[in-house]
């Protein structure tokens, strides 16, 4: 992996594990070409968070399962109860007044009706397109990249770790890139399999990343409940940062500004203005070795 790519990957990792309390980190990077930078940083974020044992947002997760249950399919799941992992199917849903319940058929174990409060007991079993179930659970390259021997949670439970504000048609082909877990490895994994972008997963994929268009007139607003776990927001370019930053206040930011792009100066001035309101220098943020052509400012703002 080239030095600059390694830099963005590590920077993403560092921001993702930065402790967010009443203040959040803002890192702005000026660079000579924006291609692939956001993608590598997002890989770093997802990789770092995959190892942090955070609990999925039950409400948001329940909404995802609720939608799936409404499709009428039998969706394979693993149900966790009293320390056991029971194989079963998500078969339907019901609503009694304001109380909504998911139906989990556990075969001989009967049917459980699950409320939002305990939705995290359900783990979706991966299905990738039409290739069949469970294949990705045995993806050694993905395991190696994430340093995660058991991929069940990663592939089974949706959790928003990273939001990328970008020109969608630019970043889409970039995430088709294949990377190796380490230099001498003879296995590769597609970046898409790491980022697990919500809009690109079929049906019940457990997403980790959400890509939002940099253009205000496009839809794709992120529901507020998804932002509670403070996913890292990567602004891939000046335009998205200038137009959409207001929607993501109070979250850790990585702002990538390409010096060749239109709007670069305005965005750099916005960063300066934000810096003047800083409440700290983000001293705990470990900045990886900065490659040639890259300039960086990091600080903290109030959440």
């Amino acid at each position: 992996m080239p030095e600059w790519a390694q830099f963005f990957l590590e920077l993403g990792q560092e921001i993702a594990c930065y402790e967010v309390r009443d203040r959040v980190p803002v890192v702005a990077v000026s660079l000579p070409a924006r291609s692939y930078a956001a993608m590598f940083a997002a890989v770093g974020v997802v990789r770092s968070r995959a190892r942090i044992n955070t609990i999925a947002d039950n409400e948001e997760y329940f909404e995802q399962l609720w939608d799936l249950a409404g499709k009428g399919d039998r969706i394979p799941v693993e149900y966790r109860e009293a320390g056991k992992r029971i194989q079963g199917y998500l078969t339907g849903r019901s609503q009694d007044g304001e109380v909504r319940r998911l139906h989990i058929d556990l075969g001989k174990g009967g049917v459980r009706k699950i409320t939002p409060q305990i939705a995290s007991r359900i783990v979706l079993k991966e299905k990738i397109g039409k290739q069949g179930r469970g294949k990705a659970n045995r993806n050694p390259a993905l395991s190696a990249v994430l340093d995660l021997p058991d991929l069940t949670d990663f592939l089974g439970r949706a959790r928003l770790d990273c939001i990328i504000v970008a020109q969608k048609n630019e970043i889409r082909p970039e995430s088709g890139l294949r990377i190796r877990p380490y230099q001498s490895a003879n296995i590769e994994v597609e970046v898409n399999d790491i980022l697990r972008v919500k809009e690109r997963l079929v049906d019940w994929g457990a997403y980790r990343t959400h890509i939002v268009s940099e253009r205000l007139r496009d839809n794709g607003r992120v529901p507020q409940e998804s932002l509670r776990h403070a996913p890292v927001v990567i602004f891939d370019g000046a335009k998205g940062f200038i137009q959409r930053r207001g929607e993501f206040t109070g979250l850790p930011w990585l702002i990538l500004l390409d010096r060749t792009e239109r709007g670069y100066r305005d965005a750099a001035q916005e960063v300066d203005a934000l810096d003047s309101t800083r409440v700290g220098d983000a001293e705990k943020l470990r900045i990886p070795h900065i490659p040639q052509g890259v300039e960086l400012v990091a600080f903290e703002v109030r959440r």
Partner: protein, 506 residues
């Protein structure tokens, strides 16, 4: 467009390696011309705010700035020296200039220009020849005078050492594909003014030669990206020293106007279509612009030189046009529509009758709008049975782009209101034929363009930012693809006739 990883690697390497060499080139005749022009501009100042003086100074200044950015012999036709001389001589004959105090100074400008346009040399060209002689690898010449790129390329081909040099627009250097050597004409400050100083801050070559005349001041210095750098710093391109120099002659370039209203004014009028539609401005490579209709249904053709096969020509909503898109426009005449002639051809001998019928109801509708306004007309059409009639819809129905409604009952209601009730069925059939012809024309045009561009080398389009496309099947109209530099989405009402016209801002 997806950048290659190897190209991006190279860009990061160059960020630490690039060197900027600054050359200051002496050339007395141009210096004399510049000094005389500056003296005149100071003397004229605000005191002579007449059209004659403004035009005199504008032409003289335009020629001067072309000289600064073009490595062409001064007598070269493309520099426009003789045309400028003739214009200045003619302007001088006006009493406002001839009998004014600064007339002597104007005469001096003309005399220096006469001297200049007779010269067959160019010191910028000589310097480029010298650089090309000693440099190795892929060389590109960067000039902001993108309209002159063909003339420059032709001139460079005359010499063996420069025949392979590519002439590129500064916009091309936003792309991560790098060169070995760049020759940049003009001052860095000038590029900074146009927000193109990324040529130096994000270098796309290991050696950058910046060529300017001795009397041009260049105050550009690379700033940090952010006011406060809390961590790290970056290697900056080595800026090789500049020798101390003589007196500077500062004549600011005239930047073209940036407003929808101004573009609409330059676009002229066409009394056939008085209907006003909302539009936004799109600025194109080479100080050109166009207006696009701000409507979700409006669509334009674009060329994507980075794609292969069917994706090379696309028809996209106007709202999706972004900087970097290559927009296809008619460039030949006052006409702006490229679908219409193809559709008419498909309609054959019936075209005239069908178009007449279309014109009749449109004109009637526009007349009513003109007299009673959109709101009143919308209400009457609603009363006539068309429940979707609103002022906005009425405006849309009166527009040139609209052919007929999707729902026949809506169309019949409008016709009834306009007094064409008995003929509504017949008109519906006629408009249906026109609509089909337009749809077919869109497909046909795209197919023809695809056939035309499929095998073409479009690297010139990326380098220059524009390219002409002449379809053998339709020799009476010429089309051009232009790189979009900026999109100003602030919408304004403009006459419909001004949509999609190519406007020269210079």
């Amino acid at each position: 467009m997806i950048a290659r990883l190897t190209d991006v690697n190279r860009v990061y390497e160059l960020a630490g390696q690039a060197r900027i060499h600054r050359y200051r080139i002496a050339y007395q005749p141009l210096r004399d011309y510049a000094r005389s022009l500056r003296r005149l501009m100071r003397a004229v100042g605000d005191q002579y705010d007449s059209l004659a003086w403004r035009e005199f100074v504008r032409r003289a200044r335009g020629y001067y700035h072309r000289c600064l950015a073009l490595p062409l012999p001064f007598h070269h036709e493309a520099l426009g020296g003789r045309a400028t001389l003739a214009a200045l001589q003619e302007a001088f004959e006006s009493p406002e200039i001839r009998y004014s105090t600064p007339a002597d100074m104007a005469l001096e400008v003309i005399q220096h220009l006469e001297d200049l346009v007779a010269r067959r040399d160019n010191p910028l060209l000589e310097k480029i020849l010298e650089i090309a002689e000693r440099e190795q690898g892929d060389i590109a010449l960067v000039t902001s005078e993108t309209k002159m790129q063909d003339s420059i390329a032709e001139e460079l081909r005359r010499y063996p050492q420069t025949s392979e040099i590519r002439v590129v627009s500064p916009e091309r250097l936003r792309d991560p594909t790098a060169f070995d050597v760049l020759c940049v004409l003009g001052t860095a400050s000038w590029y900074e003014l146009r927000e193109q100083d990324y040529i130096f801050t994000a270098p796309r070559a290991r050696e950058i030669h910046l060529l300017r005349y001795t009397f041009q001041r260049d105050s550009w210095e690379e700033d940090r990206s952010f006011t406060r750098l809390s961590r790290g710093s970056r290697e900056k391109p080595q800026l090789l020293p500049d020798e101390p120099q003589e007196e500077y002659v500062e004549i600011e370039p005239e930047l073209p106007s940036r407003s929808v209203v101004e573009i609409a004014r330059r676009s002229g009028t066409d009394e056939r279509y008085e209907q006003e539609v909302p539009a936004f401005a799109v600025y194109l490579e080479g100080e050109r612009a166009t207006l696009l209709e701000d409507d979700d249904n409006a669509r334009v053709f674009i060329i994507d030189p980075t794609e292969e096969g069917d994706e090379r020509v696309q028809r996209i909503p106007s709202a999706s046009v972004e900087p970097g898109t290559f927009l296809l426009l008619r460039i030949d005449s006052k006409e702006r529509d490229y679908i219409l002639p193809v559709a008419n051809e498909l309609l054959g001998s019936d075209a005239e009758v069908l178009r007449q019928a279309q014109r009749r109801w449109k004109e009637k509708l526009r007349e009513r709008i003109k007299v009673y306004g959109h709101t009143w007309v919308a209400e009457r059409i609603k009363e006539s049975g068309c429940e979707i009639s609103t002022p906005t819809n009425v405006r849309n129905w009166a527009s040139e782009r609209f052919i007929r409604h999707n729902d026949k009952q809506h169309f019949v209601s409008v016709m009834r209101y306009l007094g064409f009730g008995p003929k509504a069925d017949e008109l519906w059939e006629m408009m249906t034929r026109i609509r089909h012809a337009h749809q077919e024309a869109g497909h046909k045009l795209r197919k023809m363009l695809l056939q035309h561009v499929a095998s073409m080398d479009l690297s010139a389009l990326l380098d220059k930012g524009y390219m002409e496309f002449n379809l053998p099947e339709y020799q009476d109209f010429r089309m051009g693809a232009f790189r979009v530099i900026e999109v100003d989405r602030r919408s304004e009402e403009v006459p419909e006739a001004q949509i999609g016209r190519l406007i020269d801002l210079e």
